[in-house]
């Protein structure tokens, strides 16, 4: 029998595994280095958008290469190497924790999608997992002091527009005519329906972006306030002891726990949930299957006539 099947014989990390772990961490570390190199230390309240590293002149609008782009790319690379690491040496009888983790991720996402969207959308789990991973990890980048791409409206708007395209695609599964008919079902309500359609991606993107950004803003405000408080109390102490912001030790961490970890994860989950629900609700399942059945019957009829 295989030696690996012996209980407790865990697979050891080999050189390639270590390399993959390093590669997964490297993009984030590189971003941190870049941030330290480019961001000047600043006092006081400084709430601004992402840093623009350089600009590429393009038609319509100039294309900025900003912190949020770089950080998104870092997240994607990290996830890529993490995936390769997790799925290395999969076996039908798992002998490593990482395989169990990988299976857990896959199974949880699939059951989530199945319970929210039904069995028709069996190709959606990777997409939902991508939304969850990208959104949550982007928001969690604040933990290492990086600019969270999710607090850039453009990033979240891109995802919301993709989701909007998917919603519309599934609504049009029964033909554009049916889509228009649904839109103007009570004729008076047509403008409302159109607005609510367009409002979907806007509300989704602004909800996510606003939550993450507000977290950063509140954190910055509280940090500055604590610094001011500390200065006003200990300002009399001589030299560097007086200017040291004592209250900024530890106290902002509590806020960070909520804004960075809880809010980041919950917003990712909400975004994924809304994606699933909008797409599943927009898809006229019964009608689609009825039409498909009819079509099949017709095809069968034609075939039999030809024969």
């Amino acid at each position: 029998m295989n030696v690996n099947k012996v209980k407790g014989a865990k697979r050891k990390l080999d050189a390639l595994d270590c390399l993959l772990i390093v590669l997964a961490a490297l993009p984030i570390v590189a971003c941190m280095v870049l941030k330290v190199l480019t961001n000047p230390a600043s006092d006081g309240i400084n709430i601004s958008g992402p840093l623009i590293y350089f600009t590429i002149p393009t038609p319509i609008q100039p294309l900025y290469v900003t912190e949020s782009q770089i950080n998104s790319l870092a997240v994607i690379l990290s996830v890529l190497f993490l995936c390769i690491f997790l799925t290395r040496g999969l076996k039908t009888r798992p002998d490593s924790t990482r395989q169990i983790v990988a299976e857990w991720i896959v199974e949880k996402t699939e059951s989530l999608v199945k319970s929210n969207m039904g069995t028709y959308f069996s190709s959606f789990p990777p997409f939902i997992a991508a939304i969850l991973a990208l959104s949550a990890l982007s928001s969690l980048l604040t933990l290492v002091g990086l600019f969270p791409p999710t607090s850039d409206l453009n990033v979240v708007a891109g995802w919301a527009i993709l989701v909007f395209i998917l919603i519309t695609y599934y609504k049009m599964k029964c033909g554009p005519l049916h889509y228009i008919k649904e839109m103007a079902s009570p004729v008076v309500m047509t403008p409302m329906n159109v607005i609510s359609e367009i409002a979907t991606p806007i509300s989704m993107s602004f909800r996510h972006y606003g939550n993450v950004l507000s977290g950063s803003v509140v954190s910055a405000l509280v940090g500055t306030a604590l610094q001011g408080l500390s200065l006003s109390i200990f300002g009399g102490l001589p030299g560097p002891f007086g200017s040291f912001p004592y209250f900024r030790i530890g106290i902002p961490a509590v806020l960070s726990l909520y804004f960075d970890i809880f809010s980041g994860c919950i917003q990712a989950f909400i975004f994924a949930m809304l994606t699933m629900l909008y797409i599943a609700n927009g898809f006229p399942e019964e009608l689609y299957f009825k039409r498909k059945q009819k079509k099949n019957n017709k095809n069968d009829l034609i075939k039999s006539e030809v024969n």
Partner: protein, 167 residues
């Protein structure tokens, strides 16, 4: 260094972000979901095979059990039959032994009876002789003379025989 406005809309950035999501979707699909699902399917197939095997084994065991049960039942019948035979045999034998014993006892009793009869006869004879002798002696004394013993004896014997017959 320049920063972007906090609320700004840039069509290229939106497009890039959209593509990022698609790329991550493809990455997850290819590098995470595909291999894991493949392994899960393989495991399922393995388990199915194992279960089918186990089902086959179970059916086999059931068959063997049924066979054994049948055998046990027939063995029980056999044992009962043998027991009954033995019982009958024993009974028959017992009866035979008892009858034999009875016969033997009867024989013994008969022998004993005949012997007793013989002894009685002998005793009778000897008593007869004794009585004859005594009576002869008494007669001699009464008569005072010698009676021919032989005659006398004959007389007494006759008498006694008569007595014995009358009795």
């Amino acid at each position: 260094m320049q920063t972007q406005e906090i609320i700004n809309v840039n069509i290229w950035l939106i497009l890039i972000s959209l593509c990022n999501l698609v790329i991550l979707f493809l990455i997850l699909k290819k590098f995470l979901f595909k291999p894991v699902k493949k392994v899960l399917a393989e495991r399922q197939a393995e388990y199915d095979a194992k279960f089918a095997e186990a089902d086959g084994k179970l059916a086999e065991a059931e068959a063997v059990k049924a066979e054994l049960d049948a055998k046990f039942a027939s063995a029980d019948d056999e044992a009962e039959r043998i027991l009954k035979d033995a019982k009958d045999n024993a009974e028959r034998r017992g009866v035979a032994i008892v009858t034999e014993a009875k016969d033997k006892a009867d024989l013994i009793v008969k022998n004993a009876e005949s012997e007793a009869e013989l002894r009685r006869r002998k005793a009778e004879e000897s008593i007869k002789d004794d009585i004859a002798d005594v009576s002869v002696e008494i007669a001699e004394k009464i008569i005072g003379r010698e009676v021919t013993e032989r005659d006398h004896r004959r007389l007494v014997d006759e008498f006694i025989n008569k007595m014995g017959d009358e009795e």
